[in-house]
Symmetry: C2
Subunit: 431 residues, 2 copies
């Protein structure tokens, strides 16, 4: 029987789940997988976690570095979160010859070059299935199941909080703030929801997907990031009228000119498979040159799904060590070149534009003149009827246009005397 000596760092929600499952299913995994997952040391700064989880004396410590230095331990599971302590701990663990399993998307997105680079130099595995899409085995699919393919594009819903909020706004007609409060009440959103609703969490995950889908280093700051806090319920209603739903998508596309990588609210045709991923569910749609479109869908967060991914990683490590690390290194070494990520201003997209205008003759002419002068052509248009002279919404959908031109045009349109308030610009995908 293979034996894996484990050090577990961090007993928050996920760490508690991992601890409990490894205890409860210890014999089951021995029998069915032929692996004995042995928790040698468990660390958390909160001393009271020991009693809460009835962790035996000698196993619990408040010092993560004591765990890392333990020569008996093969693998460190890092569930501390954040990038300050976690970065130190992960790098130090690799230096001490440990393999690392982590769910820390911020760490891998912001310090991926450093962490993966050290793993290669020290010839140690770093496994991170739990960092994207919770229990959905999408990292394994990218690295193994779809290995025959050149990945051409990624379209994904990888932030459950935002997807839950947009679902409530769409299905119940709620405003963003009300839907956010519901998400917080349900435990889907933090007290400070910035990381989720501003798209940063999704961008972290996208950085990881891009690295392994397109095979190269990624600078996190190269990923364009827009959140959903500016989406109004009227935008959702207008999108609906045109046959679209609004989703926060993390998108990446490969082309000869470079990679596109962005997190953005997006209009998707209602029949698109991602338009039908609701509530807190995640989904990753990959397009490979051989396989075509493949979608992976499931719960993208939560204690038990994340634990499922971590145990899958542990199993893989148990089966590769000792002596089976060369393949891992080949895959990671392939990631040395830096991917060229296009600036957002150079992309081509369709757009949803919403203006609040004074309802008087000639308004549409003024706006469309500016758009036309920037080579932006209109595919659909709706102006909501009210009594003349009032402020009304005007919605335009465009054909494909250059982002740079759209931004220039919107800046000029904002100065027109018929415009009131801030304009809305949302990109359209999927047709």
């Amino acid at each position: 029987m293979r034996k894996l000596n484990i050090g577990l760092l961090g007993l928050g929600q996920i760490g508690t789940g991992v601890y409990s499952v490894l205890r409860a299913k210890h014999k089951l995994y021995q029998k069915e997988l032929g692996v004995s997952f042995d928790l040698v040391k468990v660390a958390d700064v909160r001393k009271e976690r020991q009693r809460a989880l009835r962790i035996p004396a000698g196993v619990f410590t408040t010092d993560a570095f004591e765990v890392i230095r333990d020569p008996k331990i093969d693998v460190i599971i890092e569930l501390i979160g954040g990038t300050r302590v976690a970065r130190k701990v992960v790098l130090e663990a690799l230096r001490h010859g440990k393999h690392v399993v982590t769910a820390n998307k911020a760490l891998l997105a912001e310090f991926g070059d450093e962490v993966f680079g050290l793993a290669v130099r020290r010839r140690r595995m770093i496994a991170f299935e739990a960092s994207v899409g919770g229990g959905i085995p999408v990292i394994k699919a990218l690295r193994e199941g779809l290995v025959a393919n050149r990945i051409e594009s990624i379209h994904s819903i990888i932030n459950g909080t935002s997807n839950y909020i947009l679902t409530r706004m769409t299905q119940d007609g709620l405003d963003f703030q009300v839907a956010l409060k519901q998400a917080q009440a349900k435990g889907y959103a933090e007290a400070d929801p910035t990381l989720d609703v501003e798209g940063i969490d999704a961008a972290h995950k996208l950085a990881i997907l891009v690295r392994f889908a397109f095979g190269g280093k990624v600078r996190f700051k190269d990923i364009h990031c827009e959140g959903i806090s500016e989406i109004r319920s009227e935008d959702i209603a207008f999108a609906e009228e045109f046959g679209y739903r609004i989703k926060l998508l993390a998108i990446a596309k490969a082309s000869a000119a470079g990679i596109e990588a962005r997190v953005q609210p997006t209009l998707l045709p209602k029949a698109h498979i991602l338009a039908n991923v609701n509530e807190a569910f995640n989904a990753v749609l990959l397009r490979g040159d051989e396989v075509g479109d493949v979608l992976f869908y499931g719960r993208g967060a939560g204690q038990r799904p994340t634990t499922s991914a971590i145990i899958s990683d542990l199993t893989d490590i148990a089966k590769r060590m000792p002596g089976r690390l060369e393949d891992e290194m080949i895959l990671l070494r392939g990631l040395r070149a830096r991917l060229k990520v296009k600036n957002i201003s150079s992309i081509l997209s369709r757009y949803y534009l919403r203006f609040h205008v004074i309802d008087r003759p000639g308004v549409l002419a003024k706006i469309s003149r500016v758009l036309g002068a920037h080579s932006i052509s209109i595919s659909d248009c709706v102006q909501k009827e009210t009594s003349a002279g009032k402020i009304v919404p005007l919605i335009l959908l465009t054909h494909h246009a250059h982002e740079r031109d759209v931004r220039d045009a919107i800046r000029l349109i904002a100065r027109l005397d018929v415009i009131r308030g801030k304009s809305q610009v949302i990109r359209i995908e999927g047709n």
Copy 2:
């Protein structure tokens, strides 16, 4: 660099795809995967395939057994299809110490005990990602990505032909026969469509999923199998009125009393994720005790998706050999117990019942009396209005009832003097 010497058997559509991709991407896979996939021998009984694919002399042969006996070859890719020759070839290849990659679901479903049993005894790998869901890496997900889970249920659309036909019937209002002809014209259905439209192909794939999801031997004949050839366009229209779509599902559920395993046309609520899988796409929805619901979606057939799966299998074999086979054996050895599959008559389900009745007073009373006497209670009812005395459809949806009772009741109802023609019984899932 790892080196894998390959013998390829069968140059039909899939074999041609594998041959071409292994040639075209040979250098790419060397560089990115660190594996050299070397086609040592290729066999097909049709001699003209050699010229069509420009296969070098010395590589091509018409004798599959010559390939199997070649001591240089590590892995046999079996793409002959069917169960007669393929069975002989696969067993003989294992006996000659070869690993085997196959896309042959009929072989693994009908002779799985024999084939997997011999693989364990000879300590050789048998890889079969391509046998279920084409290029969708669902076998890998079951065996590796979701390894932490007890699988509780499978709901899947794994026959693209039937799904294409049902999509045409649903979206275009076509009759079965017309939709079948379209599927044949598009190359989605064979001249003899029996294997696909009668659910046999889906049952083959389900047998493989069940073996690895629930961990045990499966007798193919224990899987209950109904196809779509009796589905009428009126059933699709009535289902729609009640808020359902009809899909051919392959379903399996684990319970203390045994496994349920069946292929059947099924009413699914329109909002169910599987109800929105259309055209020739496949999708497998798994429920794990840790991860919850996870769905895998993509093209379930075709040359390039299937080739993608086969190359993933080859890569896995390259990384495990030599000397890393013990894990594989542990997983396969775990499958020695025979799974207890429930007889269909003992399952519990909701039902859609459609009768053609003479439109006169008391008809509903007569039918519902029989149902009531069998403890079957009605949740929804529609009778289509016409002039009295004509034959009209009567549709009843039931609450959960025992299959045995439903069958008994239907038999009695068929004898009532108000009934004309054959009754329709379709199970309901998903709510």
